[in-house]
Symmetry: C2
Subunit: 457 residues, 2 copies
């Protein structure tokens, strides 16, 4: 989809100022603030809009459609794939001012929210009334619910509770034509026409701008417990988890830290945690008796694996066990200046094989590969660490690893999406026929390709 | 979407015979067998195909695309909306010969099946290895898994476990162009490109012919218990259930039978069940201790509602309590020759108001309206009963009831889909802009409108 776009002329800028007043930003300082996200890339937009209503966004899109300039919707800018960057210039629309929690309904078990609400704030508001919104991407304290839906975010709780896309019932969306539409519903079920809700979810702002969300809630599980198993190697951790599943235990979370990740965290903590080379963190939740029963059974299974088994039921103790997991990102940044990160997913049974492959492939090129992540649903975060002049080698490792993922019937992204950084790998996973159907859909929703151009395809 | 189609000429028939051999059916007897489903309508197809592979289906569709004749995919023909009928003539493709369970993987928690597998057979095969496929449409013993996915079927377990669409991970589909494509994945998560899996799910055979399915499984809950509460009125049953939810109990199933439904069942059973005017059936599942605790808490809440509370934990006793629920369909058929049936969904908090409205609206026109169904997720089956010459009145009641559903932020179909019988109501729920996007998608997937014409739109 090659298109030519018009720059934001002074007459377009005048019209945008009429719509937005002081909420139309043009200074170099402002533009630079919106030129980056959590990816390694940077593109300067021509201007930034801070709309406060769906109606304002509709006006902007009608103008963009007429004048042919790119529009890039943006939440908190935590995308790791460059999905929020203005690759072709144009106007970034920040959704941060649409930030109201409009309703949390305890009888219907639904919430109605605007896209700019921070996910952590939303989760707390829901828990305050005894309900639960399970999706928990690592970024939840500083990413928005609209961004989570736009990229189909996941998180550790995916194992038991599914991911963001399992909690979206209805959406208000501004289309590329500048129409405000509603799709989906506020009921638990519905099969009226095609499922546009799931089409917008994970479409990375390329099909419309989400302006309101109806989300499904569930009752909050009253009890949680965490189990930490320190092991001598990573594959053994993956095998231990498969035994848990075979025993029909179904933890809410199963997180893995491999040797490199653990080493990074150890250095960061500046102390040695035993002689462990891997850490498996399991979390069980539910009614008290259920959790007690699960813990006993899990301990029985896991006592034959690993070096040390720790159990925590109080919030404070649990936080302590989770500390190593939370430190991963800053710790990995400390040990290597360069990092290529992917969020691949494998069928659970293939995880042990994949973990050795990733490690060995790194070693073949003299690089370190750190793996951690959501063992529970097979979603492994692969981090290829490199010094500045080793980037080409790192890219080679990446290609071999992603090819292996596809050989093992896996997928190249479980929760980050494609954005800019994985575009090149899309044709490896999707056939030309499937890509052609997807591009056909894009054409229907956004005939002039003004919405977030250069992303996904 | 108006199209003209070519009749199945002798040269087309010759080509179809070359593809299918004796599995190409043309006798009047055969055509009549495929002219009906569980809707009140009937349309004679021109011929019927019994393909045995995706490749054969691809050949048929390439021919249909070239020669412009309609193709109507069909499972077991249990659609209540006429979704499987050959409204424009053409070729019915029965998927019943693609009926192999290809894989049930206990480590990956996935199954790979062909569309013609009966859902009941599949559920049993999965349970034999200790796993669980929750979706349980009432028809599960005689409907196919492919049909369930094509119409987005639901069932009582929707409350806790979601519906069919929550269990579809990947699909092999033959497109209208006769290409065999794969979309989705066999992993638990994935956000690579647009979500075509959910687009095909519930699209009623209008976007492609499903030829293979990758389904998500979960561990089988070890223990079940059923609770039957007989009450003096229907609204009270709905309120009792809201109290259960408020106490953060989350049953797997919450089924309601209103006075008329219960009366029908009573007559059918030829005995009086107490003086109850409504029945609420709750089912809890999970670990043994958990279920025991839930039951105790539920009994405490429900003892102040209703006339009699029964609890069953053994399979045999549970079956006894479920008997009234299972008898509804034959019982309602016995008390009235005509029936207009809808499967509306309301936000849970609106269910009591809706139940009175439905009853009163029936009474206004001198007709009886029986309501039963999945109280748990607000999915109420509304049955307008009428004598032969009252159909016009019944249609008026239907319109008032469906309008009320939309006024209460509900949806006109939770699990049956639109098909033929609800087409007229689609523009009441969906805006012209949304309909236009859906029609645009249809155009991308099936430019000549050969797949299941006259359905949904």
């Amino acid at each position: 989809m090659k298109n030519t776009y018009n720059p934001l002329s002074s007459s377009i800028r005048k019209k945008l100022r009429q719509i937005l007043g002081k909420r139309f930003l043009e200074t170099q300082e402002d533009l630079r603030a919106y030129s980056v996200d959590a990816s390694p890339h940077s593109f300067l937009p021509e201007a930034v809009a801070l709309p406060e209503s769906a109606e304002e966004i509709a006006q902007i899109l009608r103008l963009a459609q007429k004048e042919k300039f790119p529009v890039i919707p943006r939440g908190a800018g935590t995308s790791t794939t460059g999905a929020t960057l203005a690759v072709k210039g144009g106007l970034v629309i920040s959704l941060l001012r649409l930030n109201r929690i409009l309703e949390i309904n305890r009888e219907d078990l639904v919430a109605v929210v605007e896209p700019g609400v921070f996910t952590g704030d939303f989760k707390r508001a829901v828990e305050e009334v005894g309900l639960f919104y399970p999706p928990d991407p690592a970024s939840y304290e500083f990413s928005t619910i609209g961004g989570n839906v736009a990229c189909g975010a996941g998180g550790p709780k995916g194992l038991k509770y599914g991911t963001t896309k399992d909690y979206v019932l209805g959406l208000e969306v501004v289309t590329a034509r500048g129409e405000i539409i509603f799709c989906g519903r506020r009921t638990m079920k519905g099969v009226v026409g095609y499922d546009l809700v799931h089409l917008f979810t994970g479409s990375e702002g390329t099909l419309g701008v989400i302006t309101k969300l109806i989300l499904k809630l569930i009752p909050k599980p009253p009890c949680q417990a965490t189990l930490a198993l320190w092991l001598e190697d990573t594959e053994k951790a993956a095998k231990a988890f498969l035994e848990i599943l075979k025993a029909k235990l179904f933890p809410a979370t199963a997180e893995l830290l491999d040797d490199t990740t653990l080493l990074a965290v150890k250095r960061f903590l500046e102390k040695e945690i035993l002689r462990a080379q891997a850490l498996l963190l399991l979390e069980f939740d539910g009614a008290k008796k259920q959790v007690e029963e699960d813990l006993l059974q899990a301990q029985k299974i896991l006592k034959n694996f690993g070096l040390k088994l720790e159990v925590a039921t109080s919030k404070q103790e649990r936080e302590k066990l989770w500390r190593a997991r939370r430190l991963i990102s800053p710790a990995l940044k400390k040990i290597a200046p360069g990092k290529l990160a992917d969020d691949v997913v494998l069928p659970r049974s293939k995880v042990p094989e994949f973990l050795s492959f990733a490690k060995n492939t790194g070693e073949k090129y003299g690089l370190t590969v750190a793996c951690f992540g959501h063992l529970g649903d097979g979603n492994i975060h692969v981090n290829i660490l490199f010094e500045k002049n080793d980037e080409i080698k790192a890219q080679k490792v990446r290609v071999e690893i992603l090819n292996k993922v596809l050989d093992l019937c896996g997928t190249i992204s479980g929760e980050h999406g494609i954005g800019l950084t994985k575009k090149g790998f899309l044709p490896k996973e999707l056939s030309p026929e499937v890509l052609s159907l997807m591009k056909g859909i894009k054409q229907v929703f956004d005939p002039h390709n003004i919405l977030n151009p250069e992303k996904i395809f």
